[in-house]
């Protein structure tokens, strides 16, 4: 390895989001440009994991100044090199502009999106090269594992994790330390540790980002867990749709093996630990512990009744501890900084931070990590920058497809496991979808239920048959065929499915429906009673468009865009729409230069 001290580091994000918006091309361009200018000895390019601000990708940060460039294009590279790296002048036009103030912010840390975040799980993401174990180690990596294996007993570690108050980040919120204790208490000649990286919620990419951006942290967390419960073998169950995460994790495991951080007698402690990757084939239900283990065993990914719990009888019948990626990512911090430090962050019953994937009708979409107890309002408006087009906030859906929709009234709700459940939602793995006034809540419920219904494993009656019936009812409501009694039937079926389903998928699947009925019953009623969609998004309920003949200038542009030929010429001075033919697509309204067309 060459011992060069570079005057500048260029961190370029190579998370999946930035790669798909061209960061690899930019990197190659940078490489060429630096070579041309003979700067390769002075300036180092570092490929990092996700910065979380995917909306603004590709992202490039130049240190030591910490200047944050966003939405960089290949064509911008020579300017960055000439201006910033040679002349020391910041390229203003590539800086991030705060949506609220329109002000350009040069430094990473001054951007609102990052200011309110507290990064523990994501601490290295975007900062280090995930493919370099040396960079991880340089950032205190494997220090916690070293401390745990050489200075702590398994009991002490479990106590520390218990005291930290860490709860399962995969959604269930079960105390992690207690889970470890159960696995530790089970006597067996063989135990397993499993990392659940079967991130399946639509729009969620917390786990992917951690695996892509900081894979060693997961390995370290798993080594500590293995030592604590007495397991010498682990599996990372990761969905096959995450090729980059798998690739980086593979390399990380190999590098850790090469340095003796995995394998036999780790840190001379006598503790052995080996780690495998198991690729999941894309069934959402395999995120459920028992289904996940069945899948590793080569069986159909179907949940099994508990008890027996995995801690007693898990993978291949042996005691097994399963934690989510983000849970493991918190472990090195807890061991290094102590449980007290960790538990000083957050609320009474929810400690530490939580990573959320912020999406929907919001300006700053991306990955954010905030202390528990941060309010929804802070996330949506301070970090998220408010709604796109400054539309009115309607609801935020948390907890993935099985979560609930929380209305405006609860925007000041501090986020923690229990408060979200109290309002009919849940933490889930950390999906957050922001909705504005143009979103139909019945349609939202239908969207999420369509997902859970088709991802049901089909094993138990209520989930398999019940979600189908609920979906049929939602479909007919959205299509204007809703009947009196449908809301009550949805509520009854929803409660029934929650109460009698075999696994967490069914037990939560009705949440989006029940929470939207709870907070937006009027929208359901409008669909059923008045055959109207208040948000104007349900096609079948939308009324036909009309042309105001006074305003029409007979330009004929509407005719050209109408997909069903519903528009014809009136008496030569204006156009008219045949309501019977109109499908209310709204194309004519958008095209009309004089705003003469509206829905009536």
């Amino acid at each position: 390895m060459k011992d060069t001290i570079y005057r500048s580091h260029i961190l370029i994000c190579t998370g999946t989001g930035c790669v798909s918006s061209g960061s690899k091309k930019i990197k190659h361009e940078l490489q060429d440009e630096l070579a041309n200018k003979q700067l390769l000895d002075e300036i180092k390019i570092v490929e990092t994991g996700c910065h979380g601000f995917c909306e603004k990708g590709p992202i490039l940060v130049i240190y030591p100044e910490g200047v944050f460039y966003c939405q960089v294009k290949k064509e911008d590279v020579s300017e960055i090199v000439d201006e910033h790296l040679l002349k020391g002048r910041v390229v203003e036009r590539l800086l991030f502009k705060e949506p609220t103030t329109e002000k350009s912010i040069p430094s990473y840390t001054d951007i609102d999106f990052y200011k309110k975040q507290h990064r523990i799980a994501l601490s290295n993401c975007g900062k280090i090269n995930p493919e370099s174990i040396e960079e991880y180690i340089a950032n205190n990596g494997y220090e916690a594992a070293g401390k745990a294996l050489t200075e702590m007993t398994p009991e002490e570690i479990i106590e520390e994790v218990k005291n930290s108050g860490l709860r399962g980040r995969g959604g269930g919120g079960f105390p992690t330390g207690l889970k470890w204790q159960f696995a530790y208490d089970s006597e067996s000649d063989k135990k397993y540790v499993i990392c659940n990286a079967d991130e399946g919620d639509p729009g969620a990419f917390m786990d992917r980002s951690i695996l892509e951006g900081d894979p060693h942290k997961i390995i370290e967390g798993m080594i500590i867990a293995g030592y604590a419960i007495g397991a010498d073998e682990g599996y990372v169950y990761v969905r096959a749709e995450y090729p980059l995460a798998i690739e980086r994790l593979k390399k990380a495991i190999k590098d850790a093996q090469d340095l003796g951080l995995l394998g036999t007698d780790i840190f001379g402690s006598g503790f052995n630990f080996e780690l495998h990757i198991k690729k999941g084939a894309g069934a959402f239900v395999c995120g459920e512990e028992t289904a996940l283990m069945a899948s590793i065993e080569g069986k159909r990914g179907m949940p099994n009744p508990r008890p027996p719990y995995p801690a007693a009888k898990g993978l291949w019948g042996k005691p097994t501890n399963i934690n989510n990626v983000e849970s493991f990512a918190n472990i090195p911090y807890i061991i290094n900084e102590g449980s007290e430090m960790f538990s000083s962050i957050g609320t009474e019953n929810s400690k530490g931070t939580k990573v959320f994937a912020l999406t929907g009708k919001i300006k700053n979409t991306g990955l954010v990590e905030v202390p528990m107890g941060t309010t929804l309002r802070e996330v949506v408006f301070d970090i998220g920058g408010g709604l796109t087009e400054d539309k009115k906030f309607k609801a935020i859906q948390t907890g993935g497809p099985s979560g609930g929709c929380i209305p405006e009234d609860y925007l000041d709700l501090p986020i923690d496991y229990d408060s979200l459940i109290d309002v009919g939602a849940m933490m889930g793995s950390g999906g957050m979808v922001v909705m504005d006034e143009s979103t139909c809540m019945v349609d939202v419920a239908r969207f999420f239920l369509t997902f859970t219904q088709s991802e049901s494993c089909g094993k138990c009656t209520p989930c398999r048959e019940g979600t189908k019936r609920m979906l049929e009812i939602l479909n007919r409501i959205c299509e204007g065929e809703g009947k009196q009694g449908d809301i009550a039937l949805l509520e009854q079926l929803g409660e029934h499915i929650k109460e009698t389903s075999l696994c967490g998928l069914g037990q939560t699947a009705p949440n989006p429906v029940l929470s939207t009925i709870q907070y937006f019953r009027n929208e359901y009623e409008a669909h059923i009673n008045d055959k109207k969609c208040p948000a104007g998004s349900c096609q079948e309920l939308a009324s036909a468009y009309k042309i105001n003949i006074e305003a029409c200038v007979a330009c004929g542009q509407c005719v050209k865009v109408c997909p069903v030929d519903a528009i014809s010429k009136g008496d030569g001075k204006y156009y008219i729409i045949d309501e019977a033919v109109c499908i209310s697509c709204g194309a004519c309204e958008k095209k009309c230069p004089v705003d003469a067309i509206s829905q009536g």
Partner: protein
């Protein structure tokens, strides 16, 4: 064993730790309905019909998979439990054809019984009605047919096939509402490694898997005056068919069975036990020859067609260990159109041979291409015990009121050794009885190998020891056979029966079936054997006559032509 006490419906219950709430309730006479639970299979927890309320948490739990805990308070009758149970049944019915009238299981359907007892009406189901499953039926095989649209996805068939039989012919496929139970690549069940044992049909709570019925063909033959219809009833039928007519399990009703068959119009009523005795002579001689020359040992029985097909798929390398003797059914049928025709002067072309079998695999066996030895189709039709009972009921025969009658003599005479063919260990015991006596002149003490999945015994024959093993349930056979394959088997003679407990637990027996019933049925046959005057196959006078007047001697040329067969390798899946 640690005891746990809990309260179910205000009754104090004390049960062993690890007992489920469902079993605990059963112990005090509280019947919680269920569909996916089956006492002989692993717990599944899928139907959620057995939900009860845990009064401490006011939550619903599936009683079949919930172990009792100390101090637990359970209500099986609370409004919450009652409504939830009802709704799950309603949800199942909303995706079920509900065409009970045309269903083979009308009257013996567990879903129908629960629907009735919960008082669920058509209106209840219509409230949630919507799309129903529409997938093709599998009706091409000779033994079993499947209608996945009736399936309620309880998974009993999947579990029995995997756990008890080790075949795994059936599995769940697709997700959510599209889930079905099917075969690999949706192939017809008859074109895969299925043994046709029919255990799936015996555990199916509804009519999703049933035997292919041959009742119509048999009626046609019986109604045709030009056709001479011969019946053979398998050894186990006499101990099981009574259940269809209100007798306690295990009651032996041979005389009434014979009388009923005559009333139905069968021209001759014989017993497959006759050819079971014949099998012993043929197979016994074959074994003796192998044993003395030490070739192809262990000798493995071949009278069970489910086992034979399983061996052809999974142990083709061991087929030379199988006895070449045909099963009693096929020996009987071959003789019915040769020996019997000759003795009675009836044109064999006009003879229609029907066997009454405990078994669905027998329907397949009769269709095997190499099986026919007469110039005709040896076995024309196979009726399961259930099918015969249906015919008896159809014509309104008052079975219990029938006067006992005797089998026709020529091919109805049989010994106690043949009777125990119907239960596990019976064939081995019958064979050793004859072999020992033929070699040494000494009588055999009872072996009593039954009632266990795998068992073994040693029998002294002169100065030699014959090591005998039996297995029932194909999963149980696996280990014995793997040892044979690895050249590690210590046995000389192995009896394999595909179904648990042998033919008394067969795929064609009366439903519902349970471990307890199978034991009682087996005991019924054992008692009949013990009370028989003639208990050794070689002492059957009609068998002696058959050899004297027709076959000459065991393993003669004619025997080989009529009574022996060959096997072929089949694909693993």
């Amino acid at each position: 064993m640690e005891k746990v006490s809990l309260i179910i419906d205000d009754q104090k219950v004390e049960v062993e730790k690890g007992t489920s709430v469902l079993e605990a309730a059963k112990e005090v006479g509280i019947d919680v309905p269920y569909l996916c639970y089956h006492p002989d299979l692993t717990l599944h927890g899928a139907c959620r019909v057995c939900v009860v309320e845990d009064l401490d948490s006011n939550s619903l739990v599936a009683s079949c998979v919930t172990p009792v805990t100390e101090g637990m308070k359970i209500s099986t009758t609370s409004m919450k439990a009652r409504r939830a149970r009802r709704r799950n049944v309603v949800l199942l019915l909303a995706n079920h054809p509900n065409d009970c009238l045309g269903c083979d299981r009308n009257g013996s359907c567990e879903l129908q019984d629960i629907t009735h007892s919960l008082g669920i009406s058509r209106e209840d189901v219509e409230e949630v009605a919507g799309q129903v499953r529409e997938v093709p039926r599998d009706e091409v095989g000779p033994a079993l047919k499947r209608d996945p649209n009736k399936c309620i996805l309880c998974g009993r068939c999947v579990r029995v096939c995997e756990e008890v039989q080790g075949v795994s012919a059936l599995q769940f496929s697709n997700r959510g509402f599209d889930s079905i139970v099917t075969t690999a690549f949706d192939l017809p069940q008859s074109e895969i490694n299925c043994a046709n044992c029919g255990q799936c049909a015996t555990v199916c709570p509804v009519g999703a898997i049933t035997e292919v019925s041959e009742i119509k063909n048999v009626w046609h033959a019986l109604e045709d005056d030009d056709i001479h219809v011969v019946a053979q009833a398998a050894p186990s039928i006499q101990a099981t068919i009574g259940e269809e007519f209100g007798y306690e399990p295990g009651t032996v009703v041979t005389g009434k069975l014979v009388a009923a068959l005559r009333k139905l119009g069968f021209n001759s009523v014989f017993s497959t036990e006759f050819t079971a005795d014949l099998t012993i002579l043929e197979e016994g001689s074959e074994f003796l020859k192998r044993f003395t020359s030490n070739e192809n040992l262990p000798h493995i029985t071949s009278c069970c067609p489910g086992w034979v097909k399983y061996a052809e798929h999974n142990y083709p390398d061991l087929l030379n260990h199988l006895s070449s003797a045909k099963s009693p059914q096929q020996m009987f049928s071959a003789l019915s159109k040769t020996y019997y025709a000759e003795k009675t002067g009836i044109d064999p072309e006009k003879i229609y041979t029907v066997s009454i079998m405990p078994c669905t695999a027998k329907k397949f066996e009769k269709e095997r291409e190499e099986i026919n030895a007469s110039k005709f189709k040896d076995t024309d039709a196979v009726l399961t015990t259930r099918e015969l009972a249906r015919m008896i009921k159809e014509v309104g025969i008052q079975f219990k009121a029938l006067k006992d009658e005797q089998y026709d003599e020529l091919m109805g005479e049989h010994t106690g050794a043949a009777t125990i063919f119907g239960t596990t260990g019976g064939v081995a015991e019958a064979a050793v009885r004859t072999v020992k006596e033929k070699v040494t002149g000494e009588e055999l003490e009872r072996l009593n190998l039954g009632f266990k999945g795998v068992n073994s015994a040693e029998v002294e024959i002169g100065d030699k020891v014959v090591k005998v093993a039996i297995a029932n349930g194909l999963r149980n056979a696996e280990k014995l056979l793997d040892d044979v394959r690895a050249n590690k088997s210590e046995y000389d003679f192995i009896e394999v029966m595909a179904c648990p407990h042998g033919c008394v637990g067969g795929g064609g027996q009366p439903l519902p079936i349970s471990e307890e019933k199978k034991v009682l049925r087996g005991q019924g046959l054992a008692n009949t054997d013990e009370n028989s005057v003639v208990r050794k196959s070689h002492e059957n006078p009609m068998i002696k006559k058959l050899y004297e007047e027709y076959l000459k001697e065991p393993n003669s040329e004619l025997s080989h032509q009529l009574l022996h067969t060959s096997y072929k390798e089949r694909a693993k899946n």
